[in-house]
Amino acid sequence: MLLEIKDLKASAENTPILKGLNLSVKPGEVHAIMGPNGSGKSTLAKVVAGHPAYEVTSGSVSYQGEDLLELDTDERARAGVFLAFQYPVEIPGVSNASFMRQAYNARREEEGLDELDPLEFDDYVREQLKIVEMDPAFLDRSVNVAFSGGEKKRNEILQMAVLQPKLALLDETDSGLDIDALRVVAGGINSLRSEDKGIVLVTHYQRILNYVEPDFVHVMTNGKIIKSGGKELALELEDRGYDWILEEKEGAA
């Protein structure tokens, strides 16, 4: 198992947000997590990535058989966990290229590989730029500063392409993109897809699933996954909204 989350409960500022969540991701799988605003999707992604604002109060998260919650944020990243942020952070004064090079070298060092110098990295990153159809000028600019919403999302996918994570959590990377940008971003996600990698796609809209075909679709409300199914579930959600699932749930209870 690549990622195994069992009965996960987490809170922020003493308010419970995740309320007993289960999710298993095998290598090679793509999981979509859908759900209304405020249901805890971003919290789930951030807890897996190790955001300090959230306290795990019970349950477990294991990654490749090891306790992920024991690792610091940076250790998780170097072990191959990647979070594409719903709201990427601006870092004035740090160039995009040097930021990605340092991240990439941290990962390489962990794997016992030699660091790349700026010139070597430049060759490497320019190849990845093509995947997201970004202008090389973005390499010299400060990280995410004065990027449009769509450029920030592409930049997240660029970082993912550079770092080649084993587990990618994409938090609404498709929101706010026009159709061309959506195709590019989806292409970036598909190029990561492989037998040994897992992808968790948090999304609000069924649209991206036309481009990135999921193996599983989960519905999350109020801190829990309340229904799981195949990709047809996403289409049903698109048609019928979320309420029928909640009703189904209550009927069963």
Partner: protein
Amino acid sequence: MSSTFVQQFIEQGGARSTDRLPTWWKEFRSSALKKLETLEVPTRKDEEWKFLKLKTLAKTSFVAESDAALSLSREEIAARLLPESSASTLVFLNGRFSSELSRVDELPEDVVLTNWQGLLDQDPGLVRDYVGANDFWKDDLFYNLNGANFEDGAVVLIPRNTVLEKPLHILYVGSGKEGSYASHPRNIIVAGENAEATVVEEYDGRDSGAYFHNVVNEISVGANATVKHFKVQRDSTDAFHIARNLITVSQDACYDATAINLGASVSRNDSYARFEGQNIDCTLDGLVHIRGSQTSDTHTALDHAQPNSRSFQLHKVIVDEGAHSIFNGKILVRKDAQKTSSNQLNQNLLLSNKAHIDTKPQLEILADDVICSHGATVGQLSEDQFFYLMSRGIEREHARALLTYAFAAEVLETITVDSLRNALEAEVLAATVG
């Protein structure tokens, strides 16, 4: 009767030889000595000294620089020499000029790059008009301590229409290990009409032990001339550093300064720029990066007396551990200085909750048709930025260094001497890694 602190400098000043001095210099010294009899160490009641504690300085007794002679080889200072200035460097060791370590070669005709004692062999009259010409600090204790005691320093005279391609480097190396000395460097920089020059003024401390650099700079930028002035203060953390920068700028001229303050236990770096003409550009940027129990205080005044000039100031401060930084920046726009444009920003980064900031940007505007803005911010490194960097595999300590460096970068980038800028960038990065 003044305090023992002041008294020691009255005695030292009175004992200095006047044998080789021209009359005007003797008179300048004796009037400063007389003035000192009426001056006291400022206390916190004095508005200009409200936040800077001078107690340890006032309790320390200092010997004259001749009683703490320092000798260093070229190898020992090699790391501080700038390759760009290989033929234009003046070196002072514990305040005394070192002709062995200095290099002055191949300068354009009529350029003077020498020290005061060297000037006495040539024509001391060359600087007479510039000494004391800008008397903004005439009642200031430290200005007068310098006036009563200065014996050496750099003299830089660039004739009209002369462009210096290579930066001039004035390097003061200080060490308290030969004794706690006080030195009063006085640097004169004069750029004639249409002249251009870049000057690096640097104070570099080594070893432990107190010493005191009490600097006065008198800078005159002629019509349509351009002077870039980079000051780097990394005196030892036992040392005291006080500097008064007097800047007089003529019409159509440009003076751009960046002051980097990293060292000293207590430092004060004050600048006063007087605009004596129209269409002047003047920039006073600064970076203070201190830690431990260091205190650093910067007071600046940009004095717009005539119309149509511009001034700009970006002063960034990083305080770590128990350090304390003070900034007071005044923009003065006098009644006739219409169409003045002035922009001032002070940004402070607190890296520890024991660190302390006092900041006071001040506008004093008497003209009505001007564009002036000023502001100050105090902040910490953002947890969101930490999380973003760490989520990409960058360790917390490294993220801290990167973010701190990013904060400082905007000021460091103003330094146009490549080797100096690169060295400072590396230093700021290294200083933030815990």
